[in-house]
């Protein structure tokens, strides 16, 4: 069982994602939270047991794309699974996220099935 980090500036959305992860029976031992990319990066550096990240894109302090780019510069996090969960559903933003190293992309609003599909194969 692995740890997961959820990064979103909305406490509501973090709670929704946590419930959906439980509903989808995603096997995680612990779920950590962060309110923006900067906080998420700090959490990630402090806890080497985080095995996957779900991140919003539009956030204050540090957005999800900049968070993703920062993660991918770290040698020990190059292959860390990061899935973006965001309202930004346009092709350009999806491409930007994938080019920046995202492993998956879920558009809000979402169903539990879309989360499960996005995480399939990314978490053991």
């Amino acid at each position: 069982m692995k740890k997961m980090l959820i990064i979103d500036d909305s406490a509501t959305m973090r709670k929704i994602i946590m419930r959906v992860l439980r509903q989808a029976e995603i096997p995680v031992s612990d779920i950590l939270e962060a309110g923006n990319g900067k906080e998420g990066l700090q959490r990630l550096v402090a806890d080497p047991d985080i095995a996957m990240v779900l991140s919003d894109i539009n956030m204050p302090e540090m957005n999800g794309i900049d968070f993703l780019k920062a993660v991918r510069t770290r040698r020990d996090k190059v292959s860390l699974p990061v899935v973006m969960i965001t309202t930004e559903g346009g092709d350009a933003m999806i491409q930007t996220a994938m080019d920046s190293g995202a492993n998956g992309y879920v558009t809000k609003p979402f169903t539990p099935e879309s989360i499960r599909t996005a995480l399939e194969g990314l978490i053991g």
């Binding site: 929704i16 419930r19 809000k108």
Partner: protein
């Protein structure tokens, strides 16, 4: 993020009205497991008497500047939060939690509108929600609006352009 050329003249009124409604319907059916329905006959009176409104606004910038707003009277705001958070009717919710839920709903609404209507036209950006409990429903100069009933209360979403006087509404 990648920059690109400014957007075109902007979408037409019918596309905006449809986009606003479709974005709201997407949230209701996917996250709330219900349909968007008109407010009941007495919702307007209750709304007019409401001392507080839960309001979330998101700025939209492109070829024009605008604001997407979501306004809920207390009944609709609480019902929205309960449904989004999959809680029970009897559960207690602080104003802060209700306001955050309204903000997240506005976030999904603005994002859905941007994806459906604005992204195909060029480069547009949306901000993060600015949320507040306000004393009264402000006179809306919205150019595109949808009213719906939720939890016996009133929820309104609208898009207003800066420095524009033309109005259009969908109910």
């Amino acid at each position: 993020m990648a920059e690109s050329a400014p957007g075109s003249a902007g979408p037409d009124a019918s596309a905006l009205d449809a986009g606003l409604r479709e974005s709201l319907e997407g949230i209701f059916t996917t996250m709330l497991a219900r349909e968007v329905s008109p407010p009941d006959a007495s919702a307007g009176d209750r709304a007019a008497a409401a001392a507080r409104w839960f309001v979330a606004r998101i700025e939209l910038h492109g070829d024009r500047d605008g604001v997407v707003s979501l306004r809920c009277d207390p009944g609709a705001a609480r019902a929205l939060a309960i449904a989004l958070l999959m809680m029970d009717e009897a559960d207690t919710l602080a104003d802060e939690e209700v306001l955050d839920a309204v903000g997240e709903c506005a976030n999904m609404l603005a994002g859905g509108l941007k994806t459906r209507v604005f992204d195909p036209l060029g480069y547009w950006i949306i901000g993060t929600p600015a949320c507040a409990v306000e004393a009264a429903l402000p006179d809306s100069k919205a150019h595109h609006a949808v009213d719906c009933g939720l939890g016996g209360g009133l929820l309104t979403v609208d898009l207003s352009w800066a420095a524009e006087t033309r109005t259009a509404a969908v109910h």
